[in-house]
């Protein structure tokens, strides 16, 4: 259970996230929506402390996350994997090394500096890649992959961390609709099969509606909506997006919602 108690973030004079208090039970898939600059990213990056909170508290299974330091903090980051909008992979390393880097927390200084990974770790990484349909590119240099492929590699890296929570910061914002669907399906599968808590920033409404158990709406650093997709009426959505509402709705048309009437895709797998 992840408990937020008045968690807040301030950059100089601007408040990015106003004191937020809510609880996420284990195994829930949560979508955070809102216009750009609403504080979604800051909130998410505070969970694994890539952004330091300026106030409040956050507890995971009663453990105070906001007070962690040094190795304890790194252990929390290892338990709480993150997928980024720009994938944040190391482009010049091959795919398998990128995936195995998810195991770095468990390494000693010498083995990680020398880049020595055990056969067990390699097998683990390959299974994670295979689960996302990416085992065939394991030895390719990562920056030769397409965006959708890179995001699936990033998810594989997150999986080998054996995390308990998966954070996804706009995971599909730089992908085309087909790849976006593949990535969201993967996140949903991880949530349902492994029972991981998934917290996902999304900028398209219908994706959040389609995939998430719970939707949190943010506006100017304040949580203005917290409920099930059914409770998110058109009016509530318009409140969240304000002036950008029309844009968000029309964008919804082009996101993960592949129309059923569209010609059937042979297989949801991109090979290039």
């Amino acid at each position: 259970m992840l408990e937020f108690k008045g968690l807040t973030k301030q950059f100089n004079s601007t408040v990015a996230v106003k004191p937020a208090t809510f609880t996420i039970p284990d195994g829930q898939m949560v979508g955070i929506i809102g216009r750009s600059g609403a504080g979604k990213s800051t909130l998410l990056r505070m969970i694994n402390r890539l952004n330091e909170p300026s106030g409040g508290q956050m507890l995971f299974q009663k453990r105070d996350i906001t007070a962690l330091k040094g190795r304890d903090l790194r252990q929390w980051r290892n338990e709480c994997a993150m997928v980024f909008q720009q994938f944040n992979l190391v482009g010049r390393l091959n795919v398998i090394t990128n995936v195995m880097s998810g195991r770095l927390f468990h390494h000693g200084f010498a083995t990680s500096m020398l880049g020595v990974f055990s056969a067990k770790e390699r097998a683990f990484a390959i299974r994670a890649l295979d689960r996302l349909g990416m085992a065939h590119v394991a030895l390719q240099q990562t920056d030769t992959l397409s965006g959708g492929q890179m995001q699936r590699v990033a998810i594989a890296r997150a999986l080998v961390q054996e995390p308990r929570v998966m954070l996804a910061d706009e995971p599909i914002a730089s992908l085309d609709p087909l790849n976006a669907k593949v990535v969201m399906d993967a996140l949903r599968a991880i949530n349902q099969e492994d029972g991981l808590t998934v917290i996902c920033n999304l900028h398209t409404l219908d994706t959040a509606r389609q995939y998430c158990d719970r939707i949190i709406g943010m506006q100017d650093g304040v949580i203005v909506f917290d409920g099930t997709p059914k409770e998110l009426t058109d009016k509530a959505a318009r409140d969240i997006y304000g002036a950008e509402a029309e844009e968000a709705f029309s964008e919804a048309m082009t996101s993960t919602a592949l129309k059923p009437s569209a010609p059937a895709q042979p297989e949801v797998r991109v090979v290039n």
């Binding site: 790194r74 980051r77 880097s101 990680s112």
Partner: protein, 306 residues
């Protein structure tokens, strides 16, 4: 809608623009003339300090050629390729006579190259380690970054010949002093270049490694190093070229290499032995420059194709 397409002041846009343009040119003129006057002032000042006058130049230049005339070998065509005579000596005027100490020179040049190689390897290792601390985006603590930058400035600020002079006192005459001196100077120069490469690297992979729970060392090793490695290699090779030249010079103060022999021939004999050594040094340096340039271009070329 009309307000969008008129400037509201009923002025001809062309004449308005021309007024602004003339104003801008006038403003710039003032700055340019001031800078020109300052530059000219400094030029005259430095000419006066160094007493750089046409008559001194006219008197001095021929003496350079005079010196080279005195150290030119007197080669004679008829005996040019002659080998040793019955007495075991080369006849005067032959290449063998000119390059009597050829194997000694070659051994010293080899020593010079090895000195440069050792210094380059040591300096590269130190510079890589320091560059991560010195780079503003990577440094674990800002104070450590500032400290590392000052240290690197000191290392590259002092010329290697000065370090060599001090180290000859400390560790004695020989190549060790030269290697250490060049290592210190090259660490300063490479550390600066490397840290600037680090500062231009993308921080996204670093964020990625941070998010999996990687330590600072792991963030650098996996996030930054793969991005910057080709640039590091290219800079290290380029430094090797410079170090070969430097290690030929540190011998003048007794720090090993061909420099000692060059200094010896200049101050004791000033004959064709000077040109014999000089020619070999120039040939070696040119060969290494050309070779390393090809390797570097291949490295960079491979990168830019991606």
């Amino acid at each position: 809608m009309a307000s969008v397409t008129t400037n509201g002041q009923d002025q001809d846009p062309v004449s308005l623009f021309e007024t602004h343009r003339r104003q801008m040119i006038r403003d710039r003129m003032v700055v340019n003339v001031t800078l020109g006057v300052v530059f000219l002032g400094f030029l005259l000042w430095s000419l006066w300090i160094s007493r750089f006058t046409p008559d001194r130049l006219a008197a001095g230049l021929p003496r350079i050629f005079e010196y080279f005339g005195s150290v030119m070998p007197s080669l004679q065509w008829d005996v040019l390729f002659d080998s040793r005579n019955e007495a075991g000596r080369f006849p005067p005027g032959s290449i063998g006579y000119w390059y009597n100490d050829f194997w000694k020179y070659l051994r010293l040049i080899w020593e010079t190259i090895l000195m440069a190689l050792t210094a380059t390897i040591l300096a590269t290792g130190l510079a890589v380690a320091l560059s991560f601390i010195a780079a503003r985006n990577c440094t674990p603590f800002p104070w450590a970054g500032a400290l590392a930058r000052r240290f690197l400035e000191f290392c590259r600020g002092v010329p290697e010949i000065l370090f060599a002079l001090i180290l000859v006192f400390a560790v004695g005459i020989g190549p060790l002093a030269g290697v250490l001196a060049i290592t210190i100077h090259a660490t300063g120069a490479l550390g600066k270049l490397f840290s600037e490469v680090n500062e231009n690297a993308s921080m996204r992979p670093v964020d990625g490694i941070k998010a999996v729970g990687g330590s600072w060392f792991e963030q650098m090793r996996y996030g930054i190093l793969p991005q910057v490695l080709p640039n590091f290699t290219s800079y290290a090779l380029w430094r090797f070229e410079i170090n070969v030249r430097a290690s030929a010079v540190v011998g003048f103060v007794g720090a090993g290499g061909i420099g000692a022999e060059l200094s010896h021939t200049i101050s004791f004999f000033s004959d064709d032995r000077v040109t014999a050594v000089l020619l070999l040094v120039v040939l070696t340096v040119t060969a290494i420059d050309l070779l390393s340039e090809r390797v570097r271009h291949r490295l960079i070329g491979k990168e830019s194709l991606r």
